[in-house]
């Protein structure tokens, strides 16, 4: 119920939303949890395994129980913490993991079967009959498992990714973080302070402290306002630092519009930040621990600090009659704050026998809670003292304080393990676990406000701090009740009890890593923030060790759950990767082309005409044009590298297997590059344009790799060589003009003769197209008389239109990648389908291209035993009469069983040629010696066996007369 003003609440602004279809009214500033508590609704969810009624336990992001689905349709988000979600008009919220309703959940029957569903039950039950597991048990268990559900629809909403840099990153805006930010900000440092909450302040908004003579919440407001006014300070609220990474880099998720009814158009749902900080202060505070006792999970049982948070921030009392159960002095404040708000406190129960809280309330020291009652919400509880009987206490809310756990998680992200401190019975961060990061305040085990302010100021350069409380917590460890029946809950989100830990211990899963995985303690979305300590403590008792000896499991980013879409940012769907478009793209669009992706490039695959409905019809026609008239194809994407300098020859001789240094001006040579282990890296051409000027080409796929490798050879291996090179792939639009009419087309366009004297096969000629200087190469990938014409890319669109017009006039036109693939297979020309990284020059029939007269990359290793001879798989052609061959099929002798022992090789490229039938290129053991042999292409994936003959890979015009003519 709402009992007073809350520092976050705007009482004038009513917000209407719905939960499970029922209308609920809250106030601006409420979270879903505070609004429900304000409406006296304590039941908020059902637990994961046993479907027990559960309520909210915390007021922060460590919440294990109050998880909801927010939104409908594609915008639905599961597992949203009700303690973090700010309500907005029209918000639709639904409880999870319950059916048909929150109040009446059919699967609550699991709770009655709890004996059979304890930790690891799936290792011991549902075993027989064996066949039932896959078909029956597992689907049922899987359906029952899980908390929230995704909509299954295409998601809506965008996420940004961004970078921020600062001198000092402060994680957490409580007293320690605020004081550090003020101190550093006032001296002009570039500060970034991030807090996961809606505003800075931390517990200053949740306690009734005085700071510097004013209410702590007011001091926090003033500090935040000063920080906002400093231009060198960046304040990021609703921003959770999610992970610590190498190189002083942190990940953070900022909630941008998750709390807005109508986000402005263009705004993202959230932003994932990478923050680079010279120095970092972890001021993330601490999480209050619970204490385990029988049925300690009823709605209404919550952290004492959460009770105070709801009172101060939201003006909400979680109950009308509140009892307090504590093992430390901090818990006593809850009595003071409740009474000051006019809420009845039914009892203060302290586990320590020799303390005197001195509060005006029924006080029982040296006592424990041993039973609770109330099915859908707490109604009463029993306490007892050792040796004494039970006392009945009426309460609809129990505020539990078990001490504080410093928020060490980020300091464990880089394999650090925290350090145990007996005096506070808690783990603190290990100094230096994250280079450049220091923990301060409660995150470092310093729990009073004064200590936090002092630590913040000192870490940022020192100076004065306002006066503040400095009370010690005085915790005496008390983890769970003994000697009573009833399940005691440790991990509320995964439904793990003290009994489960005992079971793990009994079955010898005693190391902390085994305990975690066997019981699933700490494996839920809260990463065990409220449960890890309790589990460790129980295992420590059982194994007779101190807690630090049991150890800790580690924590991993993200600190709290974030949408996976946030990590993708804008790189999703059509924009998953950058797109590269060729100079002919606009024309291709006009011609209705379909595309194939070659790396990031979109290359036209075929250009449909007339009544063509399949790619094969178009490709066959285009092949016919190239073989019979002339075709034009955009080959801009192949890598082009401009190499200059007196040392160019030496570099090329090092890179290529052949002696490029003998290449004459105006000539082009085909070349192979090897890797240093002797296998083929790439193939391409090398053209000599001038005395010390070369242009080399690579395949589309390997352009970047070759460029990087050339940089390596030049900078690392031969740094004194006078050579420079730069990519010109993008500078030149380049088009293949191929076919018997190609010369006629170009002579007409360029208005000059192009016979063999002017431009021989494998030659180069500078040309002019109007005012534009171009480059003409006579090379052929189709096997026909062919050229490649290049102009600066800005003229590419204009040029290909001219080329298409002239080709059409000669009975031809554009051709795409599908036709190109058929043409080159017919000629046995290889691509990276063949040079896939595991073939040598000799394997592809180019052993003679490795010059014996000089060194080159890969030369020595290419001569290793085992890389030559009859046991190698060598490039061959295959022809089949009945049935199309497929790349990936393996080759076997006729009548031989398809097995690894009988495997003779595999197909790398295949096509059905319009004139030559079913063809393939393949690697077959000792293939060059087996031409004429009948074999079988076995395709296990498609279930076919196709008879074929091993032949020469050049299926037509073996002497290349067409190219050279």
């Amino acid at each position: 119920m709402r009992v007073r003003e809350g520092s976050r609440i705007d009482a004038e602004r009513v917000v209407r939303f719905s939960l499970n279809g029922k209308a609920v009214v809250g106030r601006k500033g409420d979270t879903l949890a505070s609004a429900l508590l304000a409406n006296d609704q304590r039941l908020m969810g059902r637990s994961f395994k046993y479907h027990r009624p559960r309520g909210v336990v915390t007021a922060g992001s460590e919440e294990p129980n109050a998880l909801f689905e927010i939104g409908t349709g594609a915008g639905q988000v599961p597992n949203v913490r009700g303690t973090v979600q700010e309500i907005f008009d029209g918000m639709v919220a639904r409880s999870q993991n319950c059916w048909p309703s929150l109040e009446r959940d059919a699967l609550a029957i699991n709770d009655l079967m709890s004996r059979f569903l304890s930790a690891g039950f799936y290792y011991k039950t549902f075993m027989w009959p064996q066949a039932f597991w896959e078909k029956l048990y597992e689907p049922i268990i899987r359906r029952a498992a899980g908390l929230g559900a995704l909509s299954g629809d295409e998601p809506v909403g965008d996420f940004d990714k961004a970078w921020a840099h600062c001198d000092l990153l402060i994680i957490g805006g409580g007293p320690a973080g605020l004081m550090a930010a003020l101190t550093a900000g006032r001296t002009g440092q570039r500060v970034l302070i991030a807090d996961e909450d809606v505003r800075l302040g931390g517990r200053l908004d949740a306690e009734s402290f005085e700071l510097g003579g004013m209410a702590s919440t007011d001091w926090a407001r003033e500090a935040a306002a000063e920080l906002d006014s400093l231009p060198n300070v960046r304040v990021m609220t609703r921003t959770t630092v999610t992970g610590a990474y190498d190189g002083r880099t942190f990940g953070a998720y900022e909630r941008v519009s998750e709390h807005l009814a109508s986000p402005p158009a263009g705004a993202p749902v959230g932003t994932f930040w990478r923050i680079v900080a010279d120095r970092t202060l972890l001021a993330g505070g601490a999480h209050e621990r619970m204490i385990a006792f029988p049925d300690n999970d009823r709605p209404g049982i919550m952290q004492a600090s959460a009770v105070r948070s709801y009172l101060h921030r939201y003006g909400v009392a979680p109950g009308r009659k509140v009892a307090v159960f504590t093992n430390n002095d901090d818990g006593w404040r809850t009595v003071d704050d409740l009474q000051a708000a006019g809420v009845e406190v039914s009892a203060l129960i302290d586990t320590r026998p020799d303390v005197e809280p001195g509060r005006d309330v029924r006080t029982v020291t040296g006592a424990q809670v041993v039973a609770t009652r109330g099915r859908l919400g707490l109604e009463s509880l029993d306490i007892s003292k050792p040796g004494g009987g039970r006392q009945f206490i009426s309460a609809d809310c129990l505020a539990v304080s078990g001490g504080w756990n410093p928020s060490v998680h980020l300091t464990c992200h880089m394999n650090g393990r925290p350090i145990w401190r007996d005096d506070i019975a808690a783990f603190v961060p290990k100094p230096g676990a994250v280079p450049g990061l220091e923990a301060i305040g409660a995150a470092n085990g310093a729990f009073s406000t004064h200590e936090a302010l002092r630590a913040g100021a000192d870490a940022a350069g020192g100076g004065e701090i306002p006066a503040a409380e400095d009370a010690p917590v005085n915790v005496t460890p008390f983890w769970h009740v003994t000697g009573v029946k009833g399940r005691q809950w440790l991990d509320l989100q995964n439904d793990v009890t003290v009994k489960d830990i005992k079971l793990a211990h009994q079955e010898n899963f005693r190391s902390v890593e085994h305990m975690k995985r066997y019981t699933t303690l700490g494996m839920a979305t809260d990463q065990g923030k409220l449960s890890n300590m309790g589990g460790l403590a129980v295992m420590a008792e059982l194994t007779g060790q101190p807690i630090p000896s049991v150890g800790t499991t580690t924590f991993r980013p993200p600190y709290t759950p974030i949408p996976v879409a946030a990590l993708a940012g804008r790189a999703h769907r059509a924009h998953f990767a950058p797109d590269r478009y060729t100079p002919s793209h606009q024309l291709s669009e006009e011609r209705g082309a379909s595309y194939v992706e070659a790396g990031l490039w979109h290359r036209a695959a075929w250009f449909p005409q007339g009544n063509e409905t399949t790619w094969k019809q178009s490709a066959d026609r285009e092949v016919g044009w190239v073989r019979g008239a002339v075709g034009v194809c955009d080959v801009t994407t192949l890598g082009k590298i401009d190499v200059q300098g007196p040392g160019a020859r030496d570099l090329l001789d090092l890179l290529y297997t052949g002696k490029m240094s003998t290449l004459k001006e105006g000539r082009v040579r085909y070349g192979l590059m090897l890797r240093e282990d002797g296998f083929v890296m790439d193939d391409g051409t090398c053209a000599r344009l001038g005395p010390d000027h070369y242009v080399i080409t690579t395949t589309t796929a390997a352009a970047g790799e070759v460029m990087a490798y050339m940089d390596f050879c030049a900078q690392v291996l031969k740094p004194d060589l006078p050579v420079r090179f730069i990519s010109t792939t993008e500078q030149w639009a380049q088009f293949a003009v191929a076919g018997p009419q190609s010369r006629a087309l170009l002579e007409g366009l360029l208005d000059q003769g192009l016979n063999d004297d002017v431009l021989p096969f494998m030659g180069y000629l500078p040309v002019q197209i109007g005012d534009v200087a171009g480059r003409l190469f006579r090379i052929s990938f189709s096997g026909e008389l062919a050229y490649e014409l290049a102009v600066p890319t800005r003229y590419g669109d204009a040029l290909i239109r001219v080329l298409e017009d002239r080709a059409k006039a000669l009975g031809g036109g554009l051709y795409g990648m599908e036709a190109l693939n058929i043409l080159r297979i017919e000629k046995g020309f290889i691509t990276h389908s063949e040079i896939h990284g595991r073939v040598t020059a000799d394997d592809i029939g180019f052993g003679r291209m490795v010059s014996p007269a000089k060194d080159c990359i890969g030369k020595v290793m290419s001569q290793r035993p085992g890389l030559h001879g009859a046991e190698r798989q060598q490039l061959v052609g295959l022809r089949a009469k009945d049935g199309a061959l497929k790349a990936g099929a393996h080759i076997f002798g006729q009548g031989k069983r398809a097995s690894a022992e009988n495997d003779q090789g595999y197909i790398t490229s295949a096509c059905t040629s319009p004139t030559l039938g079913h063809l393939a290129l393949a690697f077959v053991v000792n293939g060059r010696a087996r031409h004429g042999e009948q074999v079988v292409a076995h395709d296990g994936l498609h279930g076919t066996d196709i008879a074929c003959e091993i032949v020469d890979p050049v299926f037509m015009d073996p002497d290349g007369e067409k190219m050279r003519g």
Partner: protein
Amino acid sequence: MGRKCVVELSAVSPFAGAELPVSCGGMHLAETEMPVLFSVAPYPGQRTAVEGVLGQLPIGRRNGDLIWSGLDQWFLSADPEGLDGIAAVTDQSDAWAMLDLTGEGWRDVLARLSPLDADRFEAQQVARTEVAHMAGIVIGLEEGVRLGILRSFARTLHHHLVDAMQSVTAQSVLSE
């Protein structure tokens, strides 16, 4: 020999088909005026000789027409003369596509496109870095930044730039 080819080829911008200029919030995005761009790479030991022709060769910065573009490499927005034998020169005028982003909010946009320290990026500063997951060049302007990527990537750069401009503009109106 023979008559000159009389075909006239017209030029097309790398951003043809993309909406430019774009105004969003207080920001403005426009195609960079860049008729000519040449790369100059002095051979080993020839830095001084090249500086004798072009002036001081900066690193990570721009001196007027001379823009650092990478290791031992500069862009010149003119066709250089007098560098025969001391430097490799190539035409890069068509290889790059560049956009100028100006107006308040440009740093927030830059922070969404590259890992650079956007708040500290100065006019005349030049960085080679990742821009929207592509290899790019970033040049500081007086009130903004010039972003360059290889020509074929132009549409992708434009798309992500506009998205980021809209995002930054939308968020600037969100209160508290």
